[in-house]
Symmetry: D2
Subunit: 458 residues, 4 copies
Amino acid sequence: MFIETIKTDGLAHLSYVVGDGIVAAVIDPRRDVAIYQQIAQKNGVAITHVFETHRNEDLVTGSESLADRTGAVVLHGPTNEYQVPYAQTVREGERVQLGEASLTVLETPGHTLDSISIVLRHIETGDSPLCVFTGDALFINDVGRTDFYPDRADEVAGLLHDSLHHKLLPLGDQTIVYPAHGAGSVCGQKMANRDFSTIGYERRHSPRLSLARAEFIQAKIAEHHDYPPYFRKMEQINASIGPGPDRELRKPAPMSAEDFAGELENGLIAVDLRTAESFSGGHVPGSLALPVDMLTTFAGWLVPYKRRIGLIAAGPMQAERGARELARIGYDQVGGYLDDVITAWAVSGRSVGRVAAIEGPAFKQRHDGGPEFVLLDVRAKPEFDEGHLEDALHIYLGELPERLDELDPGSEIVTFCGSGQRALIAASVLKRAGFEKVTVNWGSMGACQSLGCRMAIC
Amino acid sequence: MFIETIKTDGLAHLSYVVGDGIVAAVIDPRRDVAIYQQIAQKNGVAITHVFETHRNEDLVTGSESLADRTGAVVLHGPTNEYQVPYAQTVREGERVQLGEASLTVLETPGHTLDSISIVLRHIETGDSPLCVFTGDALFINDVGRTDFYPDRADEVAGLLHDSLHHKLLPLGDQTIVYPAHGAGSVCGQKMANRDFSTIGYERRHSPRLSLARAEFIQAKIAEHHDYPPYFRKMEQINASIGPGPDRELRKPAPMSAEDFAGELENGLIAVDLRTAESFSGGHVPGSLALPVDMLTTFAGWLVPYKRRIGLIAAGPMQAERGARELARIGYDQVGGYLDDVITAWAVSGRSVGRVAAIEGPAFKQRHDGGPEFVLLDVRAKPEFDEGHLEDALHIYLGELPERLDELDPGSEIVTFCGSGQRALIAASVLKRAGFEKVTVNWGSMGACQSLGCRMAIC
Amino acid sequence: MFIETIKTDGLAHLSYVVGDGIVAAVIDPRRDVAIYQQIAQKNGVAITHVFETHRNEDLVTGSESLADRTGAVVLHGPTNEYQVPYAQTVREGERVQLGEASLTVLETPGHTLDSISIVLRHIETGDSPLCVFTGDALFINDVGRTDFYPDRADEVAGLLHDSLHHKLLPLGDQTIVYPAHGAGSVCGQKMANRDFSTIGYERRHSPRLSLARAEFIQAKIAEHHDYPPYFRKMEQINASIGPGPDRELRKPAPMSAEDFAGELENGLIAVDLRTAESFSGGHVPGSLALPVDMLTTFAGWLVPYKRRIGLIAAGPMQAERGARELARIGYDQVGGYLDDVITAWAVSGRSVGRVAAIEGPAFKQRHDGGPEFVLLDVRAKPEFDEGHLEDALHIYLGELPERLDELDPGSEIVTFCGSGQRALIAASVLKRAGFEKVTVNWGSMGACQSLGCRMAIC
Amino acid sequence: MFIETIKTDGLAHLSYVVGDGIVAAVIDPRRDVAIYQQIAQKNGVAITHVFETHRNEDLVTGSESLADRTGAVVLHGPTNEYQVPYAQTVREGERVQLGEASLTVLETPGHTLDSISIVLRHIETGDSPLCVFTGDALFINDVGRTDFYPDRADEVAGLLHDSLHHKLLPLGDQTIVYPAHGAGSVCGQKMANRDFSTIGYERRHSPRLSLARAEFIQAKIAEHHDYPPYFRKMEQINASIGPGPDRELRKPAPMSAEDFAGELENGLIAVDLRTAESFSGGHVPGSLALPVDMLTTFAGWLVPYKRRIGLIAAGPMQAERGARELARIGYDQVGGYLDDVITAWAVSGRSVGRVAAIEGPAFKQRHDGGPEFVLLDVRAKPEFDEGHLEDALHIYLGELPERLDELDPGSEIVTFCGSGQRALIAASVLKRAGFEKVTVNWGSMGACQSLGCRMAIC
């Protein structure tokens, strides 16, 4: 019997292959499914079942592709909201046998109404669960968000509480927990930065699990979660229209500076995958900075689905990674890429943009001197609420394009976040919108804490 | 019978595995020899012979390591200058049989006195050569440099002419040519950017091959070649002391900003492998910019052998590549690496350096306006001689550390090269030396040609 | 400028990616095209053109898939016979520019009427060809077969002679030759076992090139070539119906002994990919031995296209390789595989077949003693004609299923080939047909030559 | 925080890299340590500590090599028996901090006197263990063997009981268990075939954990464990002399049949790595069958340390794997390999051996008919005791070379095991010893159970 975890960075998505003998099931496959086939082959198993623990909001499911490639059946929890076209409905207690392993469905609604968990047992040990795949119901150190049904906020928070306390915790302390997301996912908030735990450990240490039902509901309702506009697109794809016919990702092709410039004039949106400091040092004017490590977190806020996309990358491997990560959240319109800015763009005599920067010590000095610039903090609201500088203006990076009118284009704006990376993305958004006096703060909150900048009193 | 070419970027070094049946020979192995063993294994052959076409000046040989790992014998051409400790001497006409292939030695001195070429024939076709491994005697579109014996300049240029015309060209037009270096190597000048040709093609098209003996000698003597200080170290290693016991490269370990800063104070030299625009956008003050693609070309000029080296890299893969490439030219003292500048250094509140930049159109405007700044062109002399801007001051990048006193630390200096990359390295050298008003020109000669900047009249 | 050779073992097929700058062309892609995309990506080029040197008989083309994935245009030589649905016709002298490289079409009919060769030149060297992609017109040490138009045998042999002497040889001795097949291909006979040569080398040493036109025609007509029945299928696919929509190969799934046995009863054909000695030591009764190294050579003779195929493999990697190689010649009906015979089949209590074997010395003794058994030599006719044992009966392995009635099921039959491998395949064919007294001769001709068996006098 | 499990098949050995931030520890490294460096690099961590949970009997430790390559400190539990030359002693309660993780030592003697377990906690959750590395104290579904101190059998069994009940179980049900071995290891008996569990799950289901102290001691003393002679060699290496200087494995080189035959005459021992049915179908006379999947299990019984080893392999990849696995248990004297038997040996006219075989149904018939042959069952004693055929003679495969005098060379012997694989190894041992009438039973116990052969009444 084996379990293999597939960790998809960017989305902080966790999917699993569990197998025994010559058969296996996949839990929550991502869109590019070749990896599951490779794992199956390496282990000498046939993939016969695909489970979806819930309808995903944050990524395009690979269930249909994987079923198409393997002949596996797709299983999805019960819901009245929609009918997943490629899946069969499974309900509480239904069981799939895989060699000496059994997978039993628990209905664990709350995060979504169709959420299920899947309990793995060994044939010989009767009732004792070995582990449980919890989807977005239970994470490591956190529980799923419950803000997807605003009209029924109390109800679904209560449902989640009951799922946790009447379904998952009763599995016993010895049960290993395999959730659908890890730290960094937008589907939770305070997930721990590791991917192993047990019911017993969570029961003792996960903050939300110690709350009584009423407190739990109250706490869940008080949480702030961002809802990136691309979630709507994912829901459509995953619940009804489907991701389209399975095919391997087309690799993006290199483009000349001339072609790239020509396409820019015809509406191409340029997405620069290079690091924050590269963009700051030199970039194609009008491009949007989305360093590849942050691509899937912010593309869904900042990149429209209808525009053709041109990537700017530090080499073909980075371009391919960008295209693959964009495809995972439904962006299929990547046309090609420009390989580097200095050697491919600047040498053609075209203009090169820069983003001014101020480093920690110099920033502290200016900030100590008083508010002669707009200090724009673009972190998520909970981060801002936990502690921020005096005189800081908060607009979440994801919402910045919609809230530009809150800023005066004539003022000097210093963008600010945890380290400077999101601040640089914000700077690129501002520059695209015509703001001219924009400076990124390298080090941002990290540096300020080391240096002792003036903090707002909460 | 198979030939596999191993291309080592950076050094533009070409080495070869040639095999038949169950045996093989390696021509000119680089220091990290695992790749030759992998190729041998893939092809099911035992490496029985290692040839050195000449004593390398530009890299540490892997012959001894490979012999140690495989039991192969190392063969080196005859010389009175030194005795290669790990090699046997081979002379004109000696032959090694590999299955149905034979490898015959031609003495082809000129580039070095011990230079040999190796002719591959098939057992059945008697005299007709299939191909020839030419070392640094004959390149694609160029011939080897002959400036290593300044007192005997005429003599060795003449030797090379004779090697080419009496040894190599007579092999016949049908002979495929496999040289030891490709475009970008410091061992030649005008090599073509491809790695396949024949004696016949070179005879017709290689500029130096159409010259009569006297003209050839004259032309070779008139050539300008840089002689990086690290060549001396390579000669020592390759001709006498040896590279030391064979072992796998130790991977560089990550370091915290605090440890890195502490070591910097204790004499660590910080080498930044990231792209030119990254360095420009934010760097560790005092660090030397050596973008990894240019590392082996310029490290031998700019990095002393005695100092402990700390790398600054965009992730562990780049750090490892940097350490590996440095080891190929004898730098074994890499201690560790700092992973990124913004997230690992700036967030600790430490100072972050920047290099100012001016892009093509803005530069043209300032340059057209007259010489209000020092325009420092750091390209190689032949590049400069082929065409440069009016008012440009030429100091080759490799020589810049020795010639800083030709520059006024109070002036504004704009560094300039082909695209901006070497210009950025030059800027980092100047900033380390205390120059403050340094600006890199993105696009440099490439942009100026597109935009029509004022050129000097030659 | 780069050329990368993709060698597809089994078919002994050679295809090429040639690129310069940021564009590339592919010559004669095989069906599973991901490798060309990987090479393009590694080199930072976009595939813009796909050339077919001729309509392939021996494999399914990947041109349409590759065009679908990259947007490249497919180019095919002129023919009146059919219209390749996914390709444009190119004619003598047409030229494609790839950066500084140019590719020029030569019409070189003979092997097929639509055969073209493609000449690579560098933009700066005018007329001098650097190399030529010769398709099936010129191989290393051989020329293409000319038996595909039996009614016009003289004419097409003459056409090939003219293509060679008036088109290819005039390119000059310095031209490197890149053919579409290497040693082991059914498309030629005496190809050398290496993949590099030049026009000059071939001109001097290739046996067929020294013949005058009339002799050449006579020699070509006298050649014996096998024509496996699957060629007809390849022609259909490549010239008219196409290989179907592009998709990644589905990996074969493991099957239990019970399922495998059940499917066998329902018409599955069991193809055993393991080594000859494995099959001899233990096999599933009724299975066909096709050791994976020989799979593509003999599947097209021995495996019908309409039957569902079950593989028997030494592990999942071998099963996948088998399925992939079968797909390259149009077998898409692989259902799954049985992983090993002893541990997966014998342990279930099912019958295990064996093939008796006789080794060299014992065989010699029996053979010396006189003809008390049928000695069945299954090598190709030219091999047999070159030398064979006294009393040997010759039936080519590919034709064996059609010629079983020439054998007496009651006699003892010893199968014989070059080493014992094809002999083992023949034994499996005989056993499937109900022959009971079948023995394979390990070592076969190889051993007999060492031991001095009685040879027939030719 | 991450944990990565490295599973070494053959030895069924589990080792771990656990890391947080930029540092990591390795638990129980195997001899070929490059994999730990790769994992460290991929995760951007420096390996600072290496733990040995106990002195290994079944493999050569990689601790010293890894320390040499990384500068890490090696930590080993306390013992009076010997001083591990490359390690520091750690005792109960000592703690290593790795970023936000802590690793605390528990002394858990019993399997060996120096056994320790290592408890992983998160800095924020105080006492709650996240997981524990249990070495050979606690396995999944089993506990460590306690037969290494025959004079103190009661005492050490008692020590293990106390380690389990007073040290490990008190960590709490929520604690994930990471042992040093999985199913198939000689270090335990009934390990489950999976590598994940928790203290809670083991507490409920592991058979040995439910026994009271006296019962536990009794049960442990009654256990039968094999003690392969190579254990003594491993103890020497790991406890005193060390594995020698760190270096990469030398890849085995191919040998011609002639060279192989010549070396055989000079004392080479030929080890055939191919499958059981390959060996049966054709082998080099005098060679020892050790199919590569069983190599590390039986080499230590059957291969002397002083002889030079020649491998017989199905290709270079298998040869390399064999050499690597042999090196893991201290065999460094692999000289080369013969690639295949039919194509490389039989074709040279040399003799080829065969092993006769009888399949399940035919065997049942003969066995039903009565004891007209010696039925030699070579399974481990516990397997034999659990159920065996009537008239079976039991000699464990590992002990066969020492007990040959219990067999009559004139009788017909049918070798028997679980599937036929170990039976084939036994047949090769018998044939090397001059037994002539040896037949392997394909399917063996597996087939007999399906077919209902006559079982002995226990």
